[in-house]
Symmetry: C2
Subunit: 446 residues, 2 copies
């Protein structure tokens, strides 16, 4: 009985710190589509659970319950999120960055997206306000800027240098926008990149921070893939840490960092947990952010708890540490292997080039489509990369997202592919993809 | 062990249909403030749980898990919410109204508020677009209209007729707005009323439906208090049911109904569950609603499950029905008694009048403040009703919300009081309030 019930207990409510375990239980399934875009087919391991091995998880469950006023997970919380959970998150940020974090700077949200909307709503005052966004970008940004009536000011990532974020391009686009009368208010950086999968070098991050400081831009740092770095030569550094390490404090630069429970090695997307940390805003603006957070009362409390767990994993010496670390490592190294396998498969396809998969959960290969394919797409009133992806889906069941959904240099074509299918399925996917691609190129050869 | 663990199981994840039980476990606490605004001090009963008595709950838990693709509560769902849960909700609406409901019309949301925002964002195209809103109103509406750059077109509820929604007032305000060049797009009706606690007569609802049909207004029906009706002479009727009973179908009138898991007799506010049902929109508009829902990916899956439970309570013949019904009845009759006790207490206070508490969770008494109190408030740069509420809070710990937060006829003063404090605490609250009020009136007598 204990086994059944404890599994239920652990599975269904994340008051345990042992979230990789939770995660593996929650994700013990597979979807029909082998390259689905959903994060629901994360890698899975199964465990025999002995509650005595996880005394720290049980202690933590009680500690979290005690942090919730009246232990009422069903009651509204503070509009920024439960204070005790924000304390935990602030401590986690400090441990990650080596610089202080203030729980009053943290706003818990239903996933990262509502925080992005909130900042766009605050920043965009009229159609003359612009937001610098990478191209390719995660379409949340283009959608949110459009919804709030502002202008997306694009800066192109350089595919030649591994989707490099290059300062001359950033400066050029800013000046162009200014010359058109656009007030550029903020710069969005997605690091690790979505859909492009690059991890920014720290030197580059420093330049970006300097640029924002000099130009008075709010730095909107999408850091939801901070745990997803697959190459030893790259490390994740938060933009707040980089700005603090340059000696910039509250009065020098405004940085907003977005984090989510939907990524990393946990992938609890359906729980809708996340937060943003705001630094470098005046108290007037802070009050407005708080007022906006209050309009929707609060984010869901289970998601709040998960966000605190993500930022405070078990530590060396905790009962659950070893199995936690083993599972985390297993998941992340498996993701790295899958990324590498897919990258190499793409490189072998005729007309396809693919940058190194450094981080996040995606590859964004470029494809040179034959003219005949482009004409066939036109005849169907379809964008060429969407035409390719539709054909692939119909022939194989594999889902890629056309590059046109993310933006790309005009005349180039790409697709986004996740690295999330189960590892043992990857070889079969590669075989099917390769066969499809050969047939496609045969069919449309110039 | 079973007892402990099963409580945890049932407490922490609502896969049981026996939600009043869940609810009572989740709310077994009390807050310091006896008249807190939070819904966290709902009435509480305790139970000895015998799982054999609730076979229907356990069956339902499995059925719900089977409705979730891959049983993955941690995965993203369809952006409108899990299809099986929407089927359940549609069936619940049909059972409630006696008219068909379509699961494709249902959009699950993190509480009711995000749905309201979504509709405002869709309806408001420019500052010349207006939304008819009751005054007093729940401030979500004024906030959302302001955030989306539209104009709130107020219509005043008539306090003399029990906060009646009177058609001449509605017509007058619509004409006034039109004459100022405002495009009035929609009418918000909150029924049962927040903060005013009235329940609209069906006859009145018919007039409102006719009015919306004739004027081409979208009817935004805030029906989150649909279970909270405390007087035998009034019943809740959904606006969709009323419009269908008048013979109006999809092509005649656009109605949006908002529902939440935060109210009723369940009060699971921290879970952030809710939905809206849209009827009478063209497929073009429907596509835009779906696109907007997709931007934030999906609402939290636990909240989605709860929303389905709220709309499909145990039925006669189910093992859990009797204890479910007993607890529901106990909670609602206790709320009715508390509303009545508070209403009568208010009526005895000098200078205070109070309408009948028919529904929702609030009383909204009117207070004639002495001139000296109004001057004292001015001297402190405070609105007079806020001045009264602050003094009350400081003297007694009782929290009322000033009427000025909801809007009121200029020159009148009110406060909103919830009926949620535990019933056994109400007499002490009444004693403290009465004593405070006497002192206040003595101090500021003209």
């Amino acid at each position: 009985m204990w086994k059944f019930v404890s599994r239920k207990f652990l599975t269904h409510f994340p008051t345990s710190s042992f979230y990789p375990l939770l995660f593996s239980l929650l994700h013990s399934h597979s979807l029909a589509s082998p390259l689905s875009l959903s994060h629901s087919n994360f890698p899975v391991t199964t465990h025999n659970i002995n509650p005595k091995e996880y005394s720290d998880s049980i202690e933590r469950a009680w500690r979290i319950l005690d942090q919730i006023p009246g232990r009422a997970t069903g009651a509204y919380s503070h509009s920024q999120g439960i204070k005790g959970l924000r304390d935990t998150i602030a401590a986690g940020i400090e441990a990650r960055d080596g610089f202080p974090a203030d729980p009053n700077d943290i706003f818990l949200t239903d996933g990262a997206s509502p925080g992005v909307h909130m900042m766009m709503q605050l920043l965009i005052r009229s159609e003359n306000d612009g937001i610098l966004c990478p191209i390719p970008q995660y379409p949340l940004y283009s959608a949110s800027i459009t919804l709030h009536g502002g202008k997306l000011v694009p800066y192109y990532l350089n595919e030649e240098t591994g989707w490099g974020l290059e300062m001359p391009e950033l400066k050029k686009q800013l000046e162009d926008a200014k010359s058109k009368g656009i007030n550029v208010r903020a710069l969005v950086v997605i690091n690790p990149g979505n859909p492009t999968g690059q991890v920014l070098p720290e030197e580059n991050q420093k330049q970006i921070v300097q640029f924002c400081k000099e130009e008075g831009l709010v730095l909107l740092a999408d850091e939801v893939y901070q745990e997803n770095v697959y190459v030893p030569e790259k490390k994740f550094h938060s933009f707040k840490k980089v700005s603090r390490s340059l000696g910039y404090g509250e009065n020098d630069i405004s940085v907003v960092s977005f984090q989510s429970v939907s990524k990393g090695y946990y992938g609890e997307c359906g729980k809708r947990g996340g937060y943003f940390e705001v630094t470098g805003f005046s108290s007037d603006v802070r009050e407005q952010i708080y007022k906006m957070a209050s309009v929707n009362l609060c984010s869901n409390v289970s998601g709040q708890i998960l966000a605190s767990l993500v930022m405070s994993p078990p530590e060396v010496g905790d009962d659950s540490y070893e199995s936690y670390f083993a599972e985390k490592d297993e998941i992340l190294t498996s993701m790295a292997r899958r990324a590498k396998t897919l990258e190499e498969a793409f490189k072998k396809l005729e007309g396809v080039t693919c940058n190194k998969a450094e981080g996040a959960m995606y590859l964004f290969p470029r494809i040179e489509l034959p003219n005949k394919a482009i004409e066939a797409a036109k005849a169907e009133n379809t964008v060429p990369d969407a035409f390719y992806c539709k054909q692939l889906l119909q022939a194989t069941g594999i889902v890629f997202v056309p590059g046109s959904g993310f933006g790309q240099v005009p005349g180039t074509w790409h697709f986004r592919c996740t690295i999330l299918p189960q590892e043992e399925k990857i070889p079969a996917i590669v075989t099917r993809l390769t066969k499809f691609h050969e047939n496609f190129m045969d069919q449309f050869h110039d």
